[in-house]
């Protein structure tokens, strides 16, 4: 088995902040907008270095999305920043019409996605944003797994022409992908080869999937682990190839099992190669207050849950 080691836990939103800072230095067209959450989005450094390229919109997310769309018309590449709920559900129709349908080059950058935002509770813990954004034609949906990958993704989306949804989180999590990685939008990454089942994970669940694979290995089960950082466009090839070999799959995401990565994978399989699948995801409930670890545990979003689901899905082959 390949070894992955945590280079020191960091929050993925800081990866975004680092990427944005670098873009500020390298790409004069990059501008940033925020709806009264600069610190949470780690935008301080970009703002300090490029005050004239920063737009503080106040608590008015709909307006922020429209302004971002308008800025593209002057050739800018706007990065909007707010919490994931206010980046998606709050402004769905604005993104739909002024950004997606108008094909504007806006990068919607969303922090505090999922239950791991912790104590603020359900009103802030969106578990539907992947589904919301994946349904929009032309939208790219990315959920990187750690600090390094979030930074790399932030740099990569500036070079992609068209709307992008970039989702990241609040808590400190293992940082284990290479600092110098090249982020390829839409290309899943094979992290661990295996033969008994495939685990396809995104975001914070990728590290958990690697941990699960270790446990499974010691239980005599060989799990293939794929990091699907891009939910749309979905890398069908890597999934189908893996499932063609393993014949069973577990999907893992910090999201409702309705509408998210799991259903996208189920659809691809139903169309191409129907396969037993188990879903690691929240079970159509709202979140709640608690620490990230408590919530991952209560809502079945950790390595232990992946191990159980893996053992179950193998039985169903």
């Amino acid at each position: 088995m390949k070894e992955y080691s945590n280079q020191g836990s960091q929050d993925t939103r800081s990866g975004f902040g680092a990427g944005l800072t670098e873009l500020g230095r390298t790409n004069p067209n990059v501008v940033a907008l925020c709806a009264d959450l600069i610190g949470s989005l780690k935008m301080d450094q970009f703002i300090e270095e490029n005050p004239e390229r920063f737009f503080q919109v106040g608590i008015a997310e709909a307006n922020m999305m429209g302004i971002a769309a308008g800025l593209t018309i002057g050739g800018k590449i706007p990065f909007t920043g707010t919490f994931a709920n206010f980046s998606t559900g709050r402004v769905y129709d604005q993104i739909r019409q002024s950004i997606a349908y108008s094909n504007k080059n806006v990068k919607i950058c969303a922090s505090h996605a999922g239950v791991t935002l912790g104590e603020d509770g359900a009103t802030h813990q969106i578990l539907e944003d992947i589904g919301l954004m994946k349904m929009l034609p032309g939208m790219v949906v990315i959920n990187p797994c750690d600090f390094n990958q979030t930074k790399a993704a932030t740099l990569a989306i500036a070079d992609h022409e068209g709307p992008v949804y970039l989702r990241f989180g609040r808590p400190k999590v293992a940082n284990f992908t290479p600092a110098d990685q090249n982020f390829e939008i839409g290309k899943g990454i094979l992290l661990q080869e295996g033969t008994d089942l495939t685990i396809v994970a995104t975001g914070h669940l990728v590290w958990e999937a690697l941990e699960a694979a270790k446990t499974l290995h010691s239980n005599g089960i060989s799990a293939e682990v794929i990091n699907i950082h891009t939910i749309k466009p979905l890398d069908k090839d890597i999934i189908l190839k893996s499932v063609g070999k393993t014949g069973a799959i577990v999907t893992a995401e910090e999201h409702n099992y309705l509408g998210g990565l799991g259903e996208s994978v189920a659809r691809v399989l139903a169309e191409n190669n129907p396969t037993p699948q188990e879903f690691i995801a929240t079970q159509d409930t709202f979140g709640e207050s608690g620490t990230p670890a408590q919530l991952m545990d209560k809502y079945g979003l950790n390595a232990a849950a992946i191990v159980k689901a893996s053992e179950k899905v193998i039985q169903r082959k």
């Binding site: 925020c34 106040g58 207050s289």
Partner: protein
Amino acid sequence: MFNKFQTIMRKKIVEILILLYKIKHMSSTHSMQDIVTQVRRDILRMVHKVNSGHPGGSLGCAEFFVSLYNEVLDLKEGFDMNGTNEDLFFLSNGHISPVFYSVLARRGYFAVDELNSFRLIDSRLQGHPTTHEGLPGVRIASGSLGQGLSVAIGAAQAKKLNNDSKLVYALMGDGELQEGQNWEAIMYAAAKKVDNLIATVDLNGKQIDGSTDEVLPMGSLEAKFLAFGWDVLTIEKGNDIEAIVAGLHKAKGMTGQGKPICILMKTEMGNGVDFMMHTHAWHGKAPNDEQLSSALAQNPETLGDY
């Protein structure tokens, strides 16, 4: 007809209330102030324990909540969701849940001990108020800003349909007024003459990223509400119980006259804790152990800590 009679009656009642209040005043202000001090302690201890939550706005509104729940709202015993024949209160800026929870508990909606569970897993005292866990006293979830005024309007219109003459109160943050939904609601309430509604703005001039002037200067809110057809009243001393009670009673007297009422209440974020005042820094940050000690020392126990 009924409405007119109602208005006159309400005015008379308000006059009597103000009189009663003034009589009660010398003895009762002290005890209301005691509650405020205790509520401050609750807020500080709650957010300190879980190292999260929003002390700044909570402390700034402590006098308002205590006045509202102990002197102004006409409440039934117990709690039911519909709140027929009682005044209703809606908190739109849900992040100041600590002050809401403390005052609800101290008013008897649930055991004061339960404040211990604030923001813990499996708690009814969620980070932002919710009905989902069945906490008595809460009628709507808030937290995503900008939604509470619309809900209060709906509840007020339901009261009218039900010939329920009690009033509906709401509280919003000033930064929160940057959300467009509020202006939809403000326009609507005036257009539809929702005059059984008193909406208070916590005018502390601060939000997360700085002062409202730094973030998004909002100009005169009074001019805006007036232009949108509301009656507006300012409470200059929004951390003074007497001023708040007088303002709220005055607002009560203005209801029933075809216009919704807005109270612009000037408060100090972090009020009552010296190092939390005159800054936006404590909007959403909990004190550490040392800071807690200092803050509590400034607010000695009055009704007993939970």
